[in-house]
């Protein structure tokens, strides 16, 4: 049937009686295809996967880890092996990155250097995470005067020029640590690391945790607030869900991101200290110390600088970009 009421409609409309039959609920529901409910983490992972830069960085990080951890086992040389007659070689098939003036293969040295740098980066960042979390949590949980006193300490450490204190600490720690190592008093496992790395860890443990402590304290205070609000509303049953669903992910997300971004900053500082001659102890080599060693022969052997410097830049870049991507993925509000 055609309806043609010019007054009512501007066009002709053709309809049948069946058109006006009520639609069933099933038919209606088909229209609203509600997107599947995703959890916080799955949602974050989905966002992360969509971020091309972050995914490329993740691949680069994995490749660098393989390069640093598996690489040395595949090399026919060891990092401290001096190959007679192979001194000062430019990159070739035999030595892809060339050799140094003692005839050591620079490829395997760069691999070991990357291993040390990443080890320091991750180790120190975890240390910072643990110390900062404990300090922040204790401060936030106790609250009151203890909290404000503990935060005053954080404030003072925060306003100290960190790089200067790091240099100072590093110098001061050198002698006692070396002595302790020489006398063999240290635990067997730590012996391998050498005083340089231990000193570096102590420095980070003493100075870099303050940012983390602030974050954790903030989250703890928020958590306390939430509990209070909930108690007032007498919605006890939902408490656990609320903490699991909102606070924990928020807190963990922030901690993961901060730790992730701490890693490149530690590696950066390590490189800087190595250049000043107060990095890891010889014969170990970090990327920073390799690069700074290379500077003396820069005009004749530029490749010696290029490889470790490029590796270090790639590592820092990849960790930075991945950390940024992670932050965007975990905290959509920041976008």
């Amino acid at each position: 049937m055609i309806i043609n009421n010019k007054k009512l409609f501007s066009t002709q409309i053709e309809v049948t009686a069946d058109d006006f039959a009520p639609a069933s609920n099933i038919e209606r529901e088909k229209l609203t295809s509600i997107g599947e409910q995703t959890s916080y983490w799955r949602d974050a992972w989905r966002r992360l996967k969509m971020n091309k830069i972050a995914m490329v960085s993740l691949v680069v990080i994995i490749l660098v880890l393989l390069f640093a951890i598996v690489g040395p086992f595949l090399s026919p040389y060891t990092y401290d092996q001096q190959i007679r007659g192979d001194e000062n070689l430019t990159p070739s098939l035999k030595h892809l990155f060339g050799t140094d003036n003692l005839g050591r293969d620079l490829l395997v040295r760069t691999m070991i250097g990357a291993r040390i740098s990443i080890f320091i980066g991750i180790g120190a960042s975890l240390l910072v995470l643990v110390i900062g979390s404990i300090y922040g949590a204790v401060s936030g949980l106790i609250g009151g005067k203890v909290d404000s006193f503990m935060m005053r300490i954080v404030e003072i450490i925060y306003s100290l020029p960190d790089m200067l204190i790091i240099i100072l600490l590093r110098i001061v720690l050198d002698d006692p640590l070396t002595k302790a190592f020489d006398s063999g008093n240290m635990l067997g496992g730590l012996q391998v690391l050498g005083p340089g790395i231990i000193a570096m860890f102590i420095v980070y443990a003493l100075l870099y945790w303050v940012g983390m402590a602030r974050i954790v304290r903030g989250q703890v205070l928020q958590l306390k607030e939430m509990e209070y609000v909930n108690a007032a509303r007498a919605l006890g049953s939902n408490n656990k869900r609320l903490i699991m669903k909102h606070l924990l992910p928020n807190c963990i997300g922030q901690l993961v991101v901060t730790t992730m971004l701490q890693i490149p900053s530690v590696i950066f500082t390590e490189a800087y200290l190595s250049f000043l001659g107060i990095g890891v102890s010889k014969p170990l080599a970090s990327l920073g110390s390799l690069a700074s060693d290379a500077i003396n022969g820069i005009s004749s052997y530029p490749y010696r600088l290029v490889f470790p410097a490029a590796t270090i830049s790639i590592i820092i870049l990849a960790f930075n970009l991945f950390g940024d991507g992670l932050r965007d993925a975990l905290d959509p509000r920041l976008k």
Partner: protein
């Protein structure tokens, strides 16, 4: 309504606005048309995401990235706005058309004095000298009810309360005597008592100054107080429009009826219950083929699922976009 017909100030025809996001094209406004006469006050009502704010940003040419006007035309004061260059648009914005926003707390720049922020508009759009501009600001402040204007104009936004800031925003919008004022939920972010004051102020101003107003809100109560006519928006479409009386006493669209039922009334005779509209708005990336309200509509019919409802002129200047109107006509004709 029986007065001599006024000149049409604004006419919007089949306006479509989309946001081009990574997830796809979000069709925020899907072809709306309306007209506004000089001195007329129109309310645009709808829930958040219905496209009511975005369509008015279109009038101002300030649709935020990545949004764009896809098609349609906007005739303002005889000019086709959609085709104007940015430079030309800037001359109209703030002068002929101005806007008040939802949140007065964030809508003023925190690092400049309020006087400075009004002055910049006067400097751009008028030839007044420094003293005249200052006098004008004082005059505006007095008009919108800000005491001690000379002192207040040299203060920063954070020194004002929310209601006072909204008054500043209104003064700013009125600075160059605009022909059209768009008020985008001007009371939503305010306390209830302050809301009433601002509505009162807008009513007063409406009578004092002869300008057209588009009042965007989700508060039907406010609409009934100051508007001459109303357009109800749902999922980017105007689904019903008409005079205040049409909409409040003779609503035709199930959504409008639902909206009216969900508003508390003070003068309710019996113990009427508030009825919420079930369900949530549709996905604007893949809008349904038929009527967008179908999934939530209690009168949903088979045709609603597959065919777009036609615009039905259910009364003089009263339109409803719904198959139910067709059904009525169908029953009338077939019953004959």
């Amino acid at each position: 309504m029986s007065e001599a017909k006024n000149k049409t100030l604004l006419s919007v025809d089949s306006l479509e606005v989309s946001f081009f996001t990574y997830a796809g094209e979000v069709k925020a406004v899907r072809g709306i048309s309306y007209e506004l006469e000089e001195g007329e006050v129109m309310g645009i009502v709808g829930e958040s995401g219905s496209g009511k704010s975005v369509s008015s940003y279109g009038l101002m040419g300030i649709i935020p990235e990545p949004g764009k006007i896809v098609s349609g035309s906007i005739q303002f004061d005889g000019k086709e706005i959609t085709k104007l260059a940015e430079k030309e648009m800037q001359k109209i914005r703030g002068k002929d058309v101005s806007m008040i926003f939802q949140d007065p707390m964030t809508s003023l720049n925190p690092v400049y004095t309020v006087g400075n922020q009004i002055d910049e508009s006067l400097r751009k759009h008028t030839d007044l000298n420094k003293q005249q501009r200052k006098d004008r600001i004082i005059e505006l402040f007095t008009l919108v009810g800000i005491n001690q204007p000379e002192k207040r104009m040299n203060q920063y936004p954070h020194e004002f309360s929310g209601g006072m800031r909204q008054r500043v925003m209104i003064a700013m919008a009125l600075a160059c005597n605009p022909k059209l004022l768009i008020a985008d939920e001007p009371t939503t972010a305010l306390d209830v008592t302050i809301q009433a004051q601002i509505v009162e102020l807008m009513k007063e101003l409406k009578d004092k100054i002869n300008m057209s107003i588009i009042f965007i809100t989700h508060d039907l109560g406010v609409v009934s107080e100051i508007c001459d006519k109303v357009a109800v928006m749902y999922a980017g479409n105007i689904i019903e429009r008409g005079s205040i009386d049409d909409i409040f006493y003779n609503p035709k669209h199930p959504y409008t009826k639902g909206l009216l039922k969900s508003v508390p009334k003070l003068n309710a005779d019996d113990h009427e219950r508030l009825v919420p509209i079930e369900g949530s708005p549709v996905d604007l990336i893949n809008p349904p083929k038929g009527c967008a309200f179908a999934p939530r509509c209690e009168n949903c019919m088979k045709i609603c699922l597959t065919e777009k409802p036609p615009v039905c002129h259910v009364g003089e200047n009263h339109e409803s976009v719904c198959w139910l109107n067709v059904k009525e006509e169908f029953e009338k004709e077939s019953g004959k």
